[in-house]
Structures are given as structure tokens and as C-alpha cells.
């Protein structure tokens, strides 16, 4: 075992650092959070910049236009871009991290050619139409119907948690094509153009006040049959295929950021007046922060382990991710609570107060509540760990 990076890894890191240092000062100012057309333009412009420099689709294979980087290089990429404060993947999230990799694995050559180069260049934005009001943790219970009419599917139903729907060009859509089959076997995966008639988008405001989520109402939307990816009724497998690509890198940027924020909290504590001294004089608070720093160090080590296993093809793909997600998201929740206590009445404002960078901590305290819910709640993750890693039997339906 070692934690040393190879010479070529270090060379990659140095080259990337130099490029980021030259490129980031040229960024235009960030648009306001609710100006979605401007956000799309800003996020996709950065994607184009990455593309032109050869960093787009860092972990995508070369045959679909990616860089074909190793998991370790991917780790370095995420670590360095986060440290440098480079833009987040933003509206390109679904295209780059889910729909794109799914197309790369399962789509026809024509479908790949039509979409993958455009996703990499930032020309095409995707959203995800999976969850429904009645199908959350039990995603396979989805009921949006697709009825065959000649060479089209006619789709009617409702989707929810559709991030970036208001600016997306395409939607990766799960629909029920066989209502009589067992629930996992009657689902198909469709490419839905977002300019199709019959789509109505209603924003869904989060507890942070942000507007990235939407509800999407589909009323007789006609989607060409040639837009189906994979066989009819094989959509569940198609949707789950990206799971097996998860190489332990999903939370690297988050982790780097959270480690930096723990250091920021220590700084805030050192400068916050309390009882004639500072908050940092409080043994209990220091111990809590120290404990969380130890957990973050351990999570970094766990990430290195998962990435090594991915590189060697050992371990169970995707499952190390469940252990990580459980530990990380529950830690974020506790860290948020501690930050709110430390900030005291400054925690009552989402904007920075009195020169202290408090707003980010308040926002992340709320954001942490989504982490233990989204992409498999902590309860579902415990089922996955219990059943697939420990071999405990399923609860009978």
C-alpha cells in the first residue's frame, strides 16, 4: 500500500494547475442564481473552455471523445479544480455524469454521434426525468405511460426533481411501456427533446430558496421510437448501468470543499467573541471540529481505497460508494449543525454578516439535508449495504 502519486500523475497535476491559474482569471462574473439563461450560458462556456483544452469528459473513454483518464487522474482533476475554485459542472451535470455515460454504454452509433460530441462541447444540456411524485425511493414503480402509435411513443405523466429542466435541450426519460409486466421489466429509456409539444415545466423551490428543481407535466408528448435507447422494456437496466461505472470519484469535489470549510469554521471560531474570549476557547467545540476533521481524513483515505480498487478492477463496483455516501452525508449533517451553533445569530442570514463568510455555511447546512435524501436516501443506502454487501435477506414485499 502507498499514497504516492506516480511521476505521470504529478505531471498531469502540474499541467492542470498551470492551466487553471492562467484560465480562471479570465472568467466573467457569475450570473445571479435565478437567471437561468445566463447560468446556462456561463456553465456551458466553461464546458467549452474545458473542451478546447482537452479536459472535457475527463473520465469518458477516448472512443467517445473523452480524455480516457485513469481514476487517479480523475481524482486529481476533481481535487485541483475544486481547490482552484473552478466552476462547478452546473447545468452540464446530467449530460456529463449520467445521460452521457449511459448513451456511451448503451446507445446506437447514430445516437452517440448525435449527442456525445455536443455534450462534451457544452452545446447540449440534459435533464433527468426519472423520479415521480409516486416513485421516489421505489423508482421502479414509476407510472408515466408511453403508448406506441406507429413510429412514435405518446407519453403522458408527471416527473419531479427535474434539475435544469428550464434550460435543457434533452431529457433522459424513464417511461412505462408495459404496464402488465413486473415493475422492473416494463420500463423503457427514451431521449425526449425538450422542445416537444405537451411539456409543461413548473419550478419547485427548495428550502434554500433556489430554483434548480422543476416538476414536469407530460401530456401526449410524441417521441420518435428511434429515440429509445436499448430494447423496449429494458430501460431499468439501461438506467442502472451508470451505477457500475461509479469509481469512487462522485464526492471528491465535495470532500475537498468540506475539508476547506472545516478550516474556515476554525478561523471563524478563533475570531468570534464569547464570554470574554473566543469561541475557540471552548474545549467542546474544538473537540467536535477535531473529530469531524478526523472523519474527513478517513473519508479521503476511503476515497483513495475505492479509486485504487476501481483502477485494479477489484472490489464491488458502486458498493464502496454506498458506504462513503452514508458516512459523508451524515457527517455533513452534523457539521452543518455545529456551524449553525457557532455562527449564532449570524446563522439567521443567508448573506454574509459583519465581514464573516457565514452565508456559505448556512446554505450548506440546508443543502446537507438534501444529501441524505437524494440519489438514494440514507435508509435505502443502508438496505443496499445490508443486502448487497452483508448478504442479509430482503424485507418481503
Amino acid at each position: 500500500m502507498d499514497l504516492r502519486f506516480s511521476e505521470s500523475d504529478e505531471a498531469f497535476r502540474a499541467e492542470l494547475r498551470a492551466w487553471l491559474a492562467a484560465e480562471l482569471p479570465k472568467l466573467p462574473p457569475k450570473p445571479s442564481l435565478d437567471d437561468w439563461p445566463a447560468r446556462r450560458a456561463w456553465d456551458t462556456a466553461w464546458q467549452r473552455t474545458l473542451f478546447d483544452a482537452g479536459y472535457a469528459g475527463i473520465n469518458w473513454s477516448k472512443d467517445v471523445g473523452g480524455r480516457g483518464a485513469s481514476p487517479t487522474e480523475h481524482l486529481i482533476f476533481l481535487e485541483e479544480t475544486e481547490r482552484a475554485g473552478a466552476p462547478y459542472v452546473g447545468v452540464n451535470f446530467v449530460g456529463l455524469l449520467h445521460a452521457g455515460p449511459t448513451l456511451a454504454a448503451e446507445a446506437s452509433p447514430e445516437q452517440k454521434q448525435a449527442h456525445l460530441p455536443r455534450i462534451l462541447r457544452g452545446d447540449e444540456v440534459w435533464c433527468q426525468g426519472f423520479s415521480e411524485p409516486g416513485a421516489g425511493s421505489d423508482l421502479a414503480a414509476l407510472s408515466t405511460r408511453a403508448v406506441r402509435d406507429g413510429d412514435h411513443y405518446v407519453v403522458t405523466g408527471q416527473k419531479i426533481w427535474t434539475s435544469f429542466a428550464q434550460v435543457a435541450d434533452y431529457c433522459e426519460l424513464l417511461v412505462r411501456t408495459d404496464p402488465d409486466a413486473p415493475k422492473h421489466r416494463g420500463i423503457s429509456w427514451l431521449i425526449m427533446p425538450m422542445d416537444s409539444p405537451g411539456i409543461e415545466i413548473q419550478p419547485l423551490r427548495t428550502i434554500v430558496g433556489s430554483t434548480e428543481f422543476s416538476q414536469m407535466f407530460l401530456d401526449g408528448v410524441r417521441i420518435p421510437v428511434e429515440n429509445r435507447v436499448g430494447a423496449e422494456n429494458d430501460g431499468w437496466r439501461v438506467a442502472m448501468v451508470t451505477f457500475s461505472f461509479e469509481r469512487g470519484t462522485a464526492f471528491v469535489g465535495e470532500l475537498v470543499r468540506t475539508r476547506a470549510l472545516v478550516e474556515d469554521l476554525a478561523k471563524i471560531a478563533r475570531s468570534s467573541a464569547r464570554n470574554g474570549g473566543t469561541a475557540w476557547d471552548d474545549d467542546g467545540l474544538r473537540r467536535e471540529l477535531g473529530h469531524m476533521a478526523a472523519e474527513l481524513d478517513a473519508l479521503w483515505a476511503l476515497t483513495c481505497r475505492n479509486i485504487t480498487q476501481a483502477e485494479r478492477g477489484t472490489g464491488v463496483p458502486g458498493l464502496g460508494g454506498s458506504v462513503f455516501k452514508l458516512a459523508y452525508t451524515e457527517l455533513r449533517s452534523r457539521l452543518g449543525d455545529l456551524a449553525m451553533k457557532l455562527l449564532d445569530r449570524a446563522a439567521l442570514s443567508l448573506d454574509d454578516i459583519d465581514g464573516i463568510e457565514s452565508g456559505i455555511h448556512v446554505e450548506r447546512w440546508m443543502n446537507a439535508m438534501s444529501l441524505t435524501i437524494a440519489a438514494g436516501t440514507s435508509q435505502i443506502q443502508r438496505n443496499i449495504v445490508g443486502e448487497r454487501m452483508l448478504g442479509l435477506p430482503k424485507e418481503p414485499a
Binding site: M1, D2, L3, R4, F5, S6, D9, T72, V262, E263, A266, D283, R286, R287, E288, L289, G290, H291, A293, A294, E295, D297, A298, L299, W300, A301, L302, C304, R305, I307, T308, Q309, R312, T314, G315, V323, L326, A327, Q379, Q381, R382, N383, V385, G386, E387, M389, L390, G391, L392, P393, K394, E395, P396
Partner: protein, 321 residues
């Protein structure tokens, strides 16, 4: 970066696992409790022959390995709750003659205010006493001590001494400083072994015990306890392995901080999993008949070695800049 066991490390892990299975199956451990109160000199020698105390001693006398590999060995010793002052004897190899081979058993105590509570005093050949100035060697028979009538861990007998003799200085603060790091990492490794053993025991029981007409592991209420146990053990293991690597290769990170974190999380995992294992076993887990209590009680012994939770967490906080 290769942060997972390589072939040699896997072979080492399997080798020591086999040694533990041969020398310390659960029935042997339980019989040691009745017969000797923990230690058996012959078994100790066999551990010595297996190289458990000479891992760091250079070849040809020893095995010539680093902390990266030592944590793997001590994880297995923890998993089998091998009794005795393993870490003390291991650290003393090279300093105390006969320690590396298992011929002499070495205990350790910290000189402090108030009485000392000493483990295995009747069985050890040398007592090393540590204080701010370094390490001294004390003849165990020179320690005036009375046995603790009911030690918490039946496999770790205890004595109470009102004071410790001065002894003979054998090493200074520089050696001690390194011992504190290595010792904390090895205690953490043994704790990870206990935490993992508890996961295995709880899961095995949850797959076999039936209530309400089905195995209890199918209930989410029980399954989620087991999942949390695994998460604690895996997180602690990653932390301990990183500590081992950093102790061998300081360029890999802040070894002192990583060791403190590993010791903190691993002992917590051992104690929490030790309790969760008893909970999953239900009423039987509360009896002497089931092994679960022995693992929790050993975790409590480890909790008192090479660091305290509050100081460790506080020390880590001081590294936040």
C-alpha cells in the same frame, strides 16, 4: 497510488489469520479465561515464532517490515482478541532482549498522579514505565501491587499499584515520541479488527435467528444496525491503513494527525460495534455464554491505551489553521 493491499500484504494478512485461527480459536480463548487469566507462555512463544513481535526488527533477526504492514498484522490479532500486552512487547523488540522472539513478555504503564492500574502484572517479565523524560525498565516483582478482584475484561487481569519504582532508564523522549505514534496506530489496528469481528458476528446471527417467522436480518430495523456497523469499521480501517502508510512515508501526509484520527475513530468503532453486536444478539448477547461481551470488554481495554478521545480530538483541532 496503490491504496489497497498488494499481493504480499494479502499473503501476510492471510498468514497471520491462519496463525490466529490455529493458536487462538474462540474455544481456546475462552479456556484461557478459566485456566490462566489470559496469558499462556507457550502460545506467546508461538506468536513470537510467527514473527508477531519482530515485524520491525531488520532481517535476518526479524521480519523487516514497516507500519504499513504491521497494522495489518495487529488488525488480525484484534479480530481474534488475542490476549496479552502485544503492542508493548512489539514496541520493546530491539530494546528489551527476548521481546522480539516472544521469550520475554513486556508490559507497559504510564507514570502519573495517583495509583497505576497495571495489566497482566503476574505474567510479564519486564515492565516499561513511561513518563515525560522517556522509558524506564522495572522489575515486575519489585512493584508493590494488589490484584483487582473483578477485572472488566476477564482476559486482561489487572493490578493496582499505589506507586511505581524508578527503574532503569532505557530510552529517552525521542524514542518515546515514536512509540506513542506507533503504539496508537497499532491499538487502532487491533480496534478495527474487533469492530470487524463484531460485524461478522452480528450479521451471522441476524441471518440465523428467527422471530415473527423470519430471520431478523430481513427487518430493516436490524439490517440498518448491521449496515452502520460496517460503515464504522470500513471508515476506521481506511483511516488506520492511511496512518500506517504515513508513518512509513512522511511525504504522504501529516502522520501525527492521521494517527490521532485513526486511534479516535477505530476505538469508537470497536466500542460502538461491540455494543451493537450485543443489541443484535438480544438477551443472549447479555450473557457470559455468548462471545459478544469479550469483544466489547477488550475494546474498553484498548480505549485506555495510547490516547484519550478528548485529547486526540483536541489535538487534531489544533492542526486546523
Amino acid at each position: 497510488m496503490n491504496f489497497d493491499l498488494d499481493d504480499g500484504e494479502r499473503a501476510l494478512q492471510q498468514g497471520i489469520r491462519d496463525v490466529c485461527a490455529r493458536l487462538f480459536p474462540m474455544e481456546r480463548v475462552r479456556s484461557l479465561e478459566q485456566e490462566t487469566g489470559g496469558l499462556d507462555r507457550k502460545l506467546w512463544r508461538e506468536l513470537g515464532d510467527a514473527g508477531v513481535f519482530s515485524l520491525r526488527v531488520p532481517e535476518p533477526e526479524g521480519v523487516g517490515l514497516g507500519m504499513t504492514q504491521e497494522v495489518l498484522v495487529y488488525e488480525e490479532l484484534g479480530r481474534s482478541i488475542v490476549p496479552g500486552p502485544l503492542v508493548s512487547t512489539h514496541l520493546a523488540a530491539g530494546l528489551v532482549e527476548g521481546a522480539a522472539s516472544g521469550e520475554r513478555i513486556v508490559g507497559m504503564a504510564e507514570r502519573g498522579r495517583g495509583p497505576a492500574i497495571l495489566g497482566h502484572l503476574d505474567a510479564i517479565d519486564v515492565l516499561l514505565v513511561i513518563d515525560a523524560d522517556g522509558i524506564s525498565s522495572v522489575e515486575p516483582s519489585a512493584v508493590r501491587a494488589t490484584p483487582v478482584a473483578r477485572p472488566l475484561d476477564p482476559l486482561t487481569p489487572m493490578h493496582l499499584a499505589s506507586e511505581l519504582p524508578a527503574g532503569e532508564r532505557v530510552a529517552g523522549p525521542d524514542v518515546l515520541e515514536r512509540w506513542r505514534l506507533d503504539g496508537a496506530a497499532l491499538i487502532a489496528a487491533m480496534s478495527v479488527g474487533i469492530a470487524s469481528a463484531c460485524v461478522e458476528q452480528a450479521v451471522a446471527y441476524a441471518k440465523e435467528r428467527k422471530q415473527f417467522g423470519r430471520v431478523i436480518g430481513s427487518f430493516q430495523a436490524v439490517k440498518h444496525i448491521c449496515a452502520d456497523m460496517l460503515v464504522r469499521a470500513e471508515l476506521a480501517r481506511a483511516s488506520v491503513y492511511a496512518a500506517g502508510v504515513m508513518l512509513d512515508d512522511p511525504s504522504a501526509g501529516d502522520a501525527a494527525r492521521q494517527v490521532a484520527g485513526a486511534r479516535l475513530l477505530a476505538v469508537e468503532a470497536a466500542v460502538a460495534n461491540g455494543k451493537a453486536n450485543i443489541q443484535v444478539h438480544g438477551g443472549m448477547g447479555y450473557t457470559w455464554e455468548v462471545d459478544a461481551h469479550l469483544f466489547l470488554k477488550r475494546a474498553m481495554v484498548l480505549q485506555t491505551r495510547f490516547g484519550r478521545a478528548d485529547s486526540l480530538a483536541g489535538a487534531i483541532a489544533q492542526t486546523l489553521t
